[in-house]
Amino acid sequence: MRKPSKWLWAAALFGYAFLYLPLVIVIVYSFNDSRLNAEWVGFTFDWYKKLFDDNEMLAAAGNSLLIGMVASAVSTVLGTMAGVALHRQRLRLLSVLVLTPIAIPEILMGVSLLIFFVLLNFTLGLVSVTLAHIAFCIGFVAIVVRSRLAGMDESLTEAARDCGATPALAFRYVTLPLIMPGVIAGALMAFTLSIDDFVITFFTAGAGTLTLPLQIYSMIKISVTPEVNAVSTLLMLLTLAMIVAASKLSPEIIQSSKETSS
């Protein structure tokens, strides 16, 4: 194996520092006893306490969790179906519909859904946001499930069919248990994507509904306060736990990110 040179390592370390330094700064200042994110004054948990007294923030967090759970549950079912269908059949339309939402700029999906809901006289709020989140999560789940299937021995399912199992039974008792880690990883991924989404939510939420990212947006548009750092730190922890769990369950997460990109 050809070892990377010292210069290459230095450049890569710079890359890693560039990726992580901003996040570290956000976390460090969430414990800083000062209203300004500038000088280190002293250690405090005040910003976290403040966070849990902030009713608007708590309501937004509640909305985000609710939307995240419903959207990830539904998109996991639909995405798994799509992944299985794409693996077993050549479906051009489905593969275009699954992959395009991932490939185009998010804002396009946001504005087209806004027009769609308003023209249908559909009230913008929790439900419209959830429907939108399901739409963009399906593709991510489908890709993870499909790559799990690609790495799996299909002859097992065929054996079950030869032994007289109906397609449904063969799926339920053979295929599904085998792809389960991929399905769960897809669900965790969908939950994370939903909790984190800002752009599509921004267009489909209407005036009254707040999710955590929308609340963070309106806070940083007005002023920068360490309370944002505190909520950001908690959100990062949550996401980190989700993604590490997902990638432990199913290396397909990394594989599929590679696949989506090539």
Partner: protein, 301 residues
């Protein structure tokens, strides 16, 4: 092979629901937006009635004409393309060493190093933008340092925040993992013996890179470029938060048309122009990647 009727039905049971959902909540809204781009803006925002008082369908090209008639829109569009291109190039420069180090690490360490690149991408997008508000803020060490240097040279102090610089740095930051992944996926497959052969023939480190590694990695470069360029072209939150009043990009213009001016037909026109530009460039990158890769003798796994 002829399918039994039951088989065909069960296939539809599997592919039908996701297909219907995506048609309803993705394809249909997109078609409605395309149609909206040919309609007239409503008196109080939104859309005018599809049928005019005389019962004639009110479809026109007015909004398209407006995009091409007023140079300000072409300017903003061009500025967005240039910004996205710059983002892509800087991402490539930063991502290459990362991808190379990961690809040349021992196998057991690769997934860990790769996960470290992906993790920041999974943290909330707004948090990553917000982090740069802190770093580039007027009280932060960076701004103080830069302005101290500028003062030494006798120049006026500048604001790092709310500037095109802030927008660009953050665009690079947010999109960097998209460049690393396809590059790594490509570099990982390179046959190391090619480099050994080049070395035996007397090629220096630089020559080995420019004449072996880099040409072979071009498919990965193009894939990464498409993955960075497309989202960067449509971004609105970053200029919105980190940019000044003159740093609006096409994404901001679209947001403004839908949420402030409420001119939906024109907003739809801008969205369609953006989609076409993004997809055309992605298609170009994919095409160059394929043919370029073949021309260089590159293999696709």
């Amino acid at each position: 092979m002829a399918l039994r009727a039951g088989e065909r039905k069960s296939r539809w049971l599997v592919s039908g629901p996701p297909l219907l959902y995506l048609i309803a909540f993705f394809a249909l809204p997109t078609l409605i937006m395309v149609l909206a781009s040919f309609r007239s803006p409503g008196e109080f925002g939104g859309l005018a009635p599809l049928q005019g008082d005389d019962g004639v369908l009110d479809l026109n090209l007015d909004s398209y004409a407006r995009f091409f008639a007023e140079p300000i829109y072409a300017q903003i569009f061009l500025k967005s393309v240039v910004t996205a291109l710059l983002t892509t190039v800087i991402c490539l420069l930063l991502a290459y060493p990362l991808a190379m180090v990961i690809a040349r690490s021992p196998k057991r360490r690769r997934d860990m190093l790769l996960l470290l690149v992906i993790l920041p991408f999974w943290s909330n997008f707004l948090i990553r933008v917000y982090a740069w508000m802190i770093i580039l803020g007027p009280q932060a060490a960076l701004a103080n340092g830069v302005n101290w240097l500028l003062a030494l040279m006798g120049a006026d102090p500048v604001s790092l925040l709310f500037s095109p610089f802030a927008v660009l740095v953050c665009l690079v930051y947010v999109h960097l993992p998209f460049m690393v992944l396809p590059l790594y996926a490509n570099l990982e497959k390179h046959d190391q013996s090619l480099l050994d052969a080049a070395q035996d023939l007397g090629a220096s480190g630089w020559q080995r890179f420019w004449r072996v590694t880099f040409p072979l990695s071009l498919p990965g470069v193009y894939a990464g470029a498409a993955l960075v360029f497309i989202p960067a072209l449509g971004i609105f939150a970053i200029p919105d938060i980190l940019g000044g009043p003159n740093d609006s990009l096409i994404g901001n213009l679209i947001k403004q048309q839908f949420l402030e001016t409420r001119d939906w037909p024109f907003g739809s026109v801008l969205s369609i122009v953006l989609t076409i530009a993004a997809l055309a460039l992605a298609g170009l990158a994919a095409w160059v990647g394929r043919t370029g890769g073949r021309g260089q003798g590159g293999r696709r796994a």
